[in-house]
């Protein structure tokens, strides 16, 4: 009767028997990318936590719609907030999938070829660092999980942020050693050596480790990344994976199952079958520099839609928005993605691009007292921005850079330069979900000023989001 009772597992691998081929190793690491995706933009809430919370954007849409996102906006934030909960789960799910790969691919696993093992490990290490970086900047002290843990091991305390950063640094360094500089063909979009180094730069910078941050940023530049001549190419489907892009979250329309961007629908105005979320603020608009002739930083109109300007070829209707502005960096023209498939956009999310690295380098050098070095990096970014007028023929009077537009910065006064780099960073990276983290790391004084119109904001309380209630309920050793 024992043979009658032998019913093997069908259609799935038993975990211990999975990491037996190169193909399976790659399948496992593929899964670790999925939590990055914005195909379900309502549960990948980094846009809420990173920008709606900041002075750059408000929630938008109808009042009351996604009330919890509104609660982030007004700093009425509890551990049961949907956005707080969603991002936590998502990032830790990514970490889990990375740990599955790393546990299954020790050096001793000789079923897998050395190259595939190294590359798969490298990607998993990078992704784990990426998820942890988001997590520790969102939530501060958090549990550290570096393997697939048993139920007992999962009951574990939050560890100090420094320990999380130590892991991020170690993972980024190991990933940088393991990963190739580029991928081709159907591997485009995988983590590269540059991605690992760029993330490492960011980890150093956020910890105010200025010298290693500057050094690592330098190493990223040495890999050959260049700024794209036209700023807006970073936010166009046709030029998605360009020379400036270090790491981006990939989206492709028309696939099955859905692998397009949902942000395209969440952020588009309602008459275009969008939901009308994520509206830029006047404060953000005011951050963009203008010449004395009133010519505005061209990045403004690449970043958002406003009255009097074409909105992807159609007239902008101020009725679309309560702030007067609509975000553009995650949207596509209706000619590319028609209203009927609005939620299946084709645009990647640029997680790490070279302009960001240059600005980090500028900041790190300035903070280490090398103002001259800082200016070189900073002015590359400004130059590209103003030279949009040389390369983007759609701009009025294209071909000549308007007088006085985004001139090179010359001051090496550390304090002045700090403010200029911060302003540059805000304009350059606007609405790319980074602003709130910058505000917080710049310190209390900066944050209080930036969020002066949010009476509920309290730096000590809101420096980090609360660890979600679901974690508090299920992890008894969390220590909260």
């Amino acid at each position: 009767c024992d043979s009658f009772l032998d019913q093997p597992v069908l259609g799935q691998y038993e975990a211990g028997q999975f990491f037996t081929s190169d193909t399976n190793a790659i399948l496992a690491v593929n899964a670790a990318y999925v939590p990055l995706s914005f195909r379900d933009a309502g549960s990948n809430t980094i846009w809420v936590l990173g920008d709606v919370a900041s002075d750059d954007a408000v929630k938008g849409s109808n009042p009351g719609d996604q009330a919890d996102f509104e609660n982030i906006d007004i700093f009425n934030i509890t551990p049961i907030n949907a956005a707080v909960e969603a991002q936590w789960r998502r990032d830790y799910d990514g970490i889990f999938k990375c740990n599955v790969v790393l546990d299954g691919l020790p050096e001793s696993n000789t079923n897998i070829s050395a190259t595939v093992r190294q590359q798969a490990r490298g990607q998993a290490l990078f992704l784990r660092a990426y998820y942890y970086f988001e997590l520790t900047n969102l939530y501060g002290n958090i549990p550290l999980r570096v393997k697939v843990e048993t139920p007992e091991e999962l009951q574990s305390p939050a560890v100090p942020q420094a320990q999380i950063y130590a892991q991020i640094e170690a993972d980024c360094q190991a990933a940088a050693d393991a990963l190739p500089a580029t991928w081709t063909g159907t591997d485009v979009g995988r983590a590269t050596k540059g991605a690992a180094l760029a993330l490492l730069t960011k980890a150093y910078l956020f910890q105010k480790k200025w010298a290693p941050a500057a050094q690592t940023a330098q190493a990223v530049g040495a890999l050959g990344y260049k700024l794209q001549p036209v700023f807006a190419d970073n936010f166009r489907a046709a030029t998605d994976n360009n020379q400036e892009i270090i790491f981006s979250v990939q989206h492709t329309t028309g696939l099955s199952p859905n692998q397009g961007s949902g942000l395209n629908q969440w952020f588009a105005p309602r008459p275009q079958n969008g939901y009308g979320f994520f509206l830029p603020t006047q404060s953000l608009v005011d951050n963009f520099e203008r010449t004395s002739d009133g010519v505005v930083d061209p990045r403004l109109d690449y970043t958002l839609g406003r009255a009097g300007q074409s909105f992807f070829g159609v007239a902008f209707d101020p009725g679309w928005t309560s702030t007067g502005y609509v975000s553009k960096k995650h949207l596509q023209p209706l000619t590319e993605i028609p209203a009927t498939i609005k939620g299946d956009g084709n645009l990647n999310y640029q997680a790490l691009r070279y302009a960001d690295v240059l600005l980090m380098q500028a900041e790190a050098l300035n903070e280490s007292g090398n103002g001259a070095g800082a200016l070189m990096a900073l002015n590359q970014v400004r130059k590209r921005a103003r030279e949009s007028y040389l390369y983007d023929t759609s701009l009025p009077n294209a071909g000549t850079v308007p007088d006085g537009l985004l001139p090179d910065i010359t001051t090496t006064d550390q304090s002045q330069l700090r403010e200029l780099i911060r302003r540059e960073r805000r304009s350059e990276l606007a609405l790319e979900f980074h602003r709130y983290f910058d505000i917080i790391r710049y310190g209390e004084a900066y944050a209080r000023q930036a969020l002066a119109d949010r009476p509920n904001f309290n730096y000590a309380r809101n420096q980090f989001y609360p660890i979600p209630q679901s974690e508090r309920d299920t992890n008894r050793n969390l220590g909260l």
């Binding site: 593929n30 009351g64 028309g254």
Partner: protein, 1114 residues
């Protein structure tokens, strides 16, 4: 001729009894000869001692040998043997009654009469006695009797086993006719227990029985609904009122956080799902094995109780045709009073003013329509049913063929349930030793689903409840526009979008209109058996049963919406799941009488195999959305497919020993050993033991003479049961999943760990103890069954709730929990007749239940029932019932600013008029002056403390009236949809009471907060504000019938016709403010199962149904 063997008169019997009760001897003879004895225990003492030895003698010889010395006569009528006193007039009373009847009666008047069954057939062997005397007789083969009396003034007591005793006052009449009603609760009823049957009187376990008569005329669509309110300790909850909706059957509470569904055995075929494919009309009886000793013979699958369904069989005799049909209309009742347009506008403007938003301008408000959305989506719907049976046969072979059709349309468009059933069952006696038979139920059903519960969260459910959208939609938004299209987004008269004022929810009528979700189920459930009787007391039976179920799912996602495109691009999804299960069961039963003792042995083996294969496919892009193009071939866009297979197997051996000493002392012991493929080798098998004892006190010498007491039996049982519903491979961590990521623009698959296994897993085991008492009083007119049970489930498989930082790798199962259910059950029936024309009976049942989690093995308490923003309504923790509500406690409304200031901090921006919450605790376990997650407490359980049912039948001549009440008491419901329609935080409609009774200043109200969307994030926090008492009492069915008599019908060759009208769910008494207090797990929380019952997201309500029906026999 071989046939002669089968005529009971020629049947040969071997019997050996020595100084045992006559009743016992007759029972043994009856079993062998396949006959039933009919006699009056008042005229013939069934306890008198007899001795008999017969070997292979014809039945008449044996009876002659047995009965002649007792001065008793007998007559063999097909399968009935009527025993009467040797002198038909009763002039010579039997010896044991002599002492009580000292005075001979002078003979003067002759009374003649006829006793018939309800269908008009003459009833032979009925005892007719003059009340207060022993003067009596029995009816002949046609039911006629003659009696000589001093005068025609007495009262006749007319009784027969299996029928309700009737008293007929003569009042000078010399000719009477009496109609006896079948007594479904008769003590000689046979109860179907595991693999065999047993007389109810000999039962030592706790078994509830529901018979065909209990369900006559109820417009129920599935067998499980029959049980509602009919059996103590069996709680039936339909998830919602939608046609074809899931029904939760809970026997003696929930013993586990996992699968709590009972095991169904339909004519010997075990099934978990096949029950829904049977027509209620085909059911003869349902026996519910509640305690361990009854159910333990089913071992590893029995811990949630066992429901044994026996379908109708043909009986020897002329072909009989019966037909029944009903037709009815369903309507929605107890609708929630929602705000009308002017109330909505007023409430909106108050909130807008409070929050500093733009108000709805008066000129806009003046143009708005006033729509009652609940009435727009809940429309009257029809329901009808027809059934035809033909049955009959000879002594050797019997057959039944039946067919039925049921149609139930839903209150909501595009929801319905249709079922076609065809059944045939044949039994044949091939020779003296061999019997064979088959039974086949074929059915096809079609369920059309719309969203019925839940808010659409989670996969694999029909989507958010239509009713929910109807509650949300503001009354100022019209259903259709001037062009007749469904309005999508509301607009002001000048054509501008008015979503800020009137909301942007989905038009529920359009949503229902677009719903096209179909489940076609093709089912075969049947068996074939071979029964060999090599010697008289040994019966060997081999049963092969199959269930074959094809579920064909097809859903078309139509693109709709005027302003927005829902379901864009249009998509077609189809799947086909084939489930083929078989069981091969072999049993041997041996009966061994030794002196006054009888031993009964059962030995058996059972092999069960379950196989499931499934394929699925979908395609997008339908240029033509009309039904004639809704095929996979016609899609133009992306296509997808899937498929898989799963198998499991169970192999078991079992044994039972039953012991009966003189019908006084009874005992039974069960053993079963189950091996399952669901565990890793070495941990596959487990043994289950149980035992029970019974003591028939009424049979004892000291009680035998207490004539009022017809039954007094004490029972006790204890035993172990298993639960194997734990998934196919819980021991293994599995890598799978369909994760996709577009590297280089190409869809690329990923795999990861999707479930975490535990190689040490074992069965869940429950240990159940039961003590019971059966009492029969007033010649059985009053019957009472009491049971008290304790059911301890241990090794409960807990899916260890992982911290949310564990990733989505699934929760591993561990054998960690202990859950206790204890309860008291009472079943009561009483029947009586008043004069010739009136009779009535009452039957009721009630059960208490206390459910408690005793231990979670150190695992953290598990949350369940997501209700809002990742907030869960329930917590399953030690010392509490499973799935207890765990919420903040609302404590009225802040009346003053000072009160806000002095109260615990609830967050920024709290104002007078906002809801106040109790500061219960803090991070250190003491109140900390801050309201947060630490202040949640256990505030009640969705499990009723008391469930009950009450049925009353009243008959006057040919008129009958019955009423059936059913209710639950002591449970809570979380009215989640009220957080949306009373929480008022966006442009959703709100209830009339919330729109008009809101807080306006100190002292105005302590119930409804001020109207403010900003304040709502505090005020609508999940709390006891939305927790309500879920108790209800429902008049489930009331029915009035008329049976046409013989005279009218005989020219039509119709034996009987009953016409009736009935109303289902006519009245509901409840304090619950939602649409329907009767609801189970909503579609959001299916994964949480019993940890998330009683959460109302705006449920599809039960219909009130009015029907007219007819039952006819030919």
């Amino acid at each position: 001729a071989p046939a002669s063997h089968q005529d009971p008169a020629n049947r040969r019997i071997s019997v050996q009894v020595s100084n045992q009760a006559l009743k016992t001897a007759l029972h043994l003879i009856g079993q062998q000869a396949g006959v039933k004895f009919v006699y009056s225990p008042r005229l013939i003492d069934p306890q008198q001692r007899v001795t008999l030895r017969a070997h292979e003698q014809p039945l008449p010889d044996v009876l002659q040998q047995l009965l002649a010395p007792l001065h008793l006569d007998f007559e063999i009528l097909q399968k009935q043997v009527v025993i009467s006193k040797a002198t038909a007039t009763g002039a010579v009373p039997p010896p044991t009654l002599e002492a009580r009847n000292a005075h001979p009666v002078p003979v003067e008047t002759t009374i003649t009469g006829r006793v018939t069954q309800a269908n008009g057939e003459g009833l032979p062997g009925v005892t007719v006695v003059v009340k207060g005397t022993t003067n009596g007789t029995t009816s002949d083969a046609d039911g006629n009797f003659t009696l000589s009396l001093p005068d025609a003034s007495g009262t006749l007591v007319v009784s027969a086993i299996g029928f309700i005793t009737q008293e007929v006052s003569l009042q000078g009449r010399t000719q009477v006719s009496v109609v006896l009603q079948t007594d479904v609760k008769s003590l000689d009823d046979v109860v179907v227990i595991g693999y065999t049957t047993q007389r109810k009187a000999d039962l030592t376990g706790a078994v509830s029985q529901v018979n065909q008569a209990d369900i006559n005329g109820l417009p129920v669509t599935g067998p499980a609904q029959i049980l509602q309110g009919k059996a103590a300790g069996v709680a039936i909850t339909q998830a919602t009122g939608a046609p074809g909706e899931n029904i939760a059957v809970r026997i003696r509470g929930v013993g586990t956080i996992n699968d709590n569904d009972p095991l169904y055995i339909i004519d010997g075929v075990p099934t978990k799902t096949g029950i829904n494919q049977i027509s209620p009309n085909d059911i003869e009886s349902i026996n519910i094995l509640k305690d361990a000793s009854s159910a333990a013979i089913y071992g590893a699958r029995a811990s949630n109780g066992v429901v044994i369904v026996t379908t109708k069989r043909g009986k020897a005799g002329k072909p009989r045709l019966t037909a029944s049909a009903y037709a009815g209309v369903q309507t929605a009742s107890n609708l929630i009073n929602m705000a009308n347009t002017s109330q909505y506008v007023a409430a909106y403007n108050v909130a807008a003013q409070n929050d500093g938003r733009e108000q709805i301008p008066a000129d806009v408000a003046a143009t708005l329509p006033d729509v009652n959305w609940l009435k727009e989506v809940l429309k009257p719907a029809r329901q009808y049913n027809g059934q035809l049976d033909v049955s009959g046969g000879t002594e050797n072979s019997q057959y039944i063929v039946s067919g039925s059709y049921l149609k139930q349309d839903g209150l909501i468009e595009n929801s319905s349930f249709d079922r076609y059933n065809l059944r045939t069952a044949v039994n044949t006696t091939l020779s003296r030793f061999v019997k064979i038979g088959t039974n086949a139920n074929l059915s096809y059903s079609k369920t059309r689903q719309v969203g019925t519960s839940g808010d659409g969260f989670g996969d694999g459910n029909p989507g958010a409840s239509i009713v929910r959208f109807a509650l949300f939609r503001t009354p100022g938004t019209p259903v259709r526009n001037d062009q007749g299209q469904f309005v999508d987004l509301p607009r002001t008269p000048d054509g501008a979008l008015a979503t800020a004022f009137l909301g942007d929810g989905i038009n529920p009528v359009a949503l229902a209109d677009a719903a096209d979700r179909n489940f076609n189920r093709y089912n075969l459930l049947g068996n074939a058996y071979l029964e060999i009787t090599p010697v008289e007391s040994l019966r060997i039976r081999s049963d092969y049963g199959v269930t074959f179920l094809i579920t064909d799912y097809k859903q078309f996602f139509k693109t709709f919406g005027v302003d927005r495109s829902f379901n864009s691009p249009a998509q077609l999804a189809q799947s086909n799941t084939k489930e083929f299960n078989y069981n091969w069961t072999n049993t041997a039963v041996y009966e061994l009488p030794v002196g006054k003792s009888t031993f009964n042995f059962l030995l058996g083996t059972e092999a069960i195999k379950n196989n499931v294969t499934a394929i699925s496919a979908s395609r997008r892009g339908y240029v033509d959305q009309s039904p004639t193009f809704q095929y996979l071939d016609n899609g133009t866009g992306v296509q997808q497919n899937g498929g898989g297979e799963a198998h499991s197997a169970l192999f078991s051996g079992f044994a039972r020993l039953s012991y009966d000493y003189d019908s006084r002392y009874l005992a039974s012991f069960n053993f079963r050993r189950d091996g399952s493929s669901q565990f890793i080798p070495g941990r596959r098998a487990e043994s289950f033991y149980s035992g029970s004892v019974g003591w028939n006190l009424a049979q004892e010498r000291f009680l035998r003479d207490v004539s009022a007491l017809s039954l007094l039996k004490l029972r006790a049982s204890v035993g172990q049961l298993g639960n194997s519903s734990i998934g196919n491979y819980p021991y293994a961590s599995l890598v799978g999943g369909n994760f996709y990521y577009p590297f280089g623009g190409v869809s690329t698959q990923g795999l990861s760990v999707v479930s975490k296994g535990n190689p040490n897993l074992r069965w869940e085991t429950s240990t159940q103890s039961d003590v019971g008492l059966d009492i029969g009083l007033l010649q059985g007119a009053l019957q009472l069954t009491l049971d008290y049970f304790v059911k301890n489930t241990s090794n409960v498989l807990l899916f260890l709730p992982q911290p949310s930082s564990a990733g989505n790798g699934g929760n591993p199962a561990v054998n960690a929990g202990k859950i206790r259910n204890q309860g008291f059950e009472l079943e009561l029936s009483y029947r009586n007749t008043i004069g010739n024309d009136w009779s009535y009976n009452l039957s009721g049942n009630l059960a208490t239940l206390k459910n408690e989690v005793r231990d979670l093995g150190g695992t953290p308490p598990s949350v369940g029932g997501r209700i809002d923003n990742n907030y869960f309504a329930t917590l399953t923790d030690v010392g509490r019932p499973i799935g207890s509500f765990y919420l903040l406690q609302a404590d009225g409304i802040f009346q003053t600013a000072e009160e806000v200031f002095t109260h615990a901090y609830q967050g920024p921006g709290i104002q007078p008029g906002d809801v106040k919450f109790k500061d219960i605790s803090g991070p250190n376990g003491v109140p900390d002056g801050v309201i947060d997650g630490n202040d949640r407490t256990f505030v009640g359980s969705p499990i009723p403390k008391l469930t009950y049912g009450l049925t009353g039948n009243l008959r006057y001549k040919s008129l009958d009236l019955s009423a059936f009440f059913q209710g639950v008491q002591g449970n809570k419901l979380y009215n989640q949809v009220n957080t949306d329609i009373e929480g008022f935080y966006r442009a959703f409609n709100l209830t009339e009471r919330a729109a008009t009774n809101y807080w306006t200043g100190p002292g105005s109200t302590n119930e409804f907060p001020r109207l403010s969307w900003v304040g709502a994030s505090n005020n609508k926090q999940p709390s006891t504000r939305f927790l309500e008492d879920g108790s209800y009492l429902r008049l489930k069915n009331i029915q009035l019938g008329y049976t046409f008599g013989d005279k009218l019908l005989s020219p039509l060759k119709v034996a009987s016709v009953r016409l009736y009208v009935s109303a289902q769910n006519l009245l509901t008494f409840t304090k619950y403010t939602g649409l329907d207090p009767e609801q189970g797990t909503n579609s959001n929380s299916l994964g949480d199962g019993v940890r998330a019952t009683g959460i109302d997201f705006g449920t599809y309500p039960s219909a009130r149904t009015f029907t007219v029906g007819i039952n006819a026999g030919f």
